[in-house]
Amino acid sequence: MDSIISVQNLTHTYTDGQNNSVKALDGINLSIAPGEFVAIIGTNGSGKSTLARHFNALLTPTEGICLVNGLDTSKEENMWQVRQTVGMVFQNPDNQIVAAIVEEDVAFGLENIGVPSEQIRPRVEAALAAVNMSAYAQQAPHRLSGGQKQRIAIAGVMALEPKCIVFDEPTAMLDPKGRKEIVSTVVKLNKEKHITIVYITHKMEEAILADRIVAMEKGKIVMMGTPAEVFSQVELMNKLGLEAPLAAEVAFHLNKAGHKLPANIITHKELCKALCPSM
């Protein structure tokens, strides 16, 4: 299967005015298949946002290449095609909504790429329906909750009908309710609309939903695999400054204390089953 995003030997170096340079990404190799749900985890400054910004040509590689749907992101002429293929949702919902009315904001991307007026409305309505926000089409964004604003931002990206959406810590500024709304929306888009998801997060309960987890540190990929494979390596996770999900942590310590629990326990359900098989 052809990958939708393919990164080969990607290095990105930030240079400031005084010629100090920082290597934010260092020889990354990664390919993401269509329809996949990939979570990228890592501590602050591990380079996960920098990597994500390469996926829709907001940044271009210093070395190596980044291909989106076979298009080289470093070529200027591919830029708009790339940005239509890979959409991006950012952390702060307030700072990515442009217009003063919800439906106008959702239409913003479509207006930018020059979709004829009569085709804009149905696509806006479909995008709002996909995130369950149709009832708010005429509202002013500043009257909505954080979770609702973030869903509007997702709708704005969805309207462009991308193949892939990159989420850059979309729940970091939300309350638990908003967080739940966003996570279920993301899962729904992946399962029902078969949109490839790249999901950057600090929260392991969210990363656990992914098909594959990529853990980063200091600009390098240090772990990669299914959630079970990654999270069951509790010691390595802790060394990276990450906290494994509670169930994985408990299972790890129980095993260390001499109990014989099966490996790869990462969810509460699995832990319960292992502890009381009769339940």
Binding site: R83, N92, N95, V98, E111, N112, G114, S117, P141, H142
Partner: protein
């Protein structure tokens, strides 16, 4: 305190005036302003006033609101009236030391203040019946033909849209910063004017810094959604002139025609 703010002075409604195309309203406002300067006779001023009141009545606006719109400039209106009354040349009616009141002065003063009042009323009628967002669309659409001579129509409209979008957000932020600074002992309500202005600095600096950060993030989000300026851009809401706008244009034309006849008609017939 900053919770429920309304932007501009839009008064939501469903009247004939509210439903007019914003371009029609903007153009009509300009024509009316021109008409104000054509008017000479008492009759023509009467017609203009009547026109404003009929329009206000059609818009179903509360009269109080309309009167309030004159309030900010009442000092200037009174001053205009006063200066004209006391400096007019002509037949003196009343004299005291160096002050002379003339008949011509009174007439000119009343005319000038009426002009000011009419200009204020008609522009308020525009903003009362048109939401800022629709007004922005109208301005962009009207300015588009002038792009060729370098008028940045799209950029101006984009700036207005973003400003409208972020005013509530920044107000909220100001509120939050004020509370945070008060919690650390900042005092915003005592001292003289200079002292108070100085006390505002701890609000302004964080506000500016966060605005720049917001601008940066917004720019990135806009780019990620394929924004590349006004070129090749389409709009979801296209402004379309309806039969309503024809009616309004006819009304405006009749008004201007009547005023022209009142001014120059006499001489025409004299020839």
């Amino acid at each position: 305190m900053l919770n429920d703010i309304t932007l501009g002075q839009y008064y939501p409604g469903n009247s004939f005036l509210h439903k007019l195309d914003p371009r029609t309203k903007i153009l009509a406002t300009f024509f009316f302003m021109a008409a104000v300067f054509i008017a000479e006779s008492a009759l023509s001023y009467g017609i203009l006033l009547a026109f404003v009141f009929i329009v206000a009545f059609m818009a179903k606006l509360p009269w109080k609101m309309l009167l309030k719109s004159i309030k900010p400039l009442w000092v200037i209106i009174i001053l205009t009236l006063g200066i004209h009354i006391f400096t007019g040349q002509g037949e003196p009616l009343w004299q005291w030391k160096m002050f002379t009141v003339t008949r011509e002065g009174i007439v000119l003063g009343v005319k000038m203040s009426l002009r000011l009042i009419l200009l204020l009323l008609i522009s308020s009628l525009l903003t009362f019946t048109t939401s800022p967002i629709v007004l922005t669309d109208g301005i962009e659409s009207l300015l588009t033909p002038f792009k060729k001579i370098g008028v940045p129509a799209h950029e101006l409209a984009m700036m207005m849209t973003i400003a409208l979008r972020f005013i509530p957000t920044l107000l909220e932020e100001t509120d939050r910063i004020m509370k945070a600074q008060s919690a650390r002992g900042a005092d915003f309500s005592s001292g003289n004017l200079i002292q108070r202005a100085k006390n505002m600095l701890p609000i302004l600096i964080p506000l500016f810094i966060s605005s720049f950060r917001r601008a940066d993030e917004l720019a990135m989000a806009m780019e990620a959604r394929c924004y590349r300026g006004g070129k090749g851009r389409t709009r979801m809401h296209q402004l379309v002139y309806g039969s309503r706008d024809g009616v309004a244009a006819c009304g405006m034309a009749v008004l201007i025609l009547v005023l022209c006849i009142l001014k120059w008609g006499g001489t025409l017939w004299a020839i």
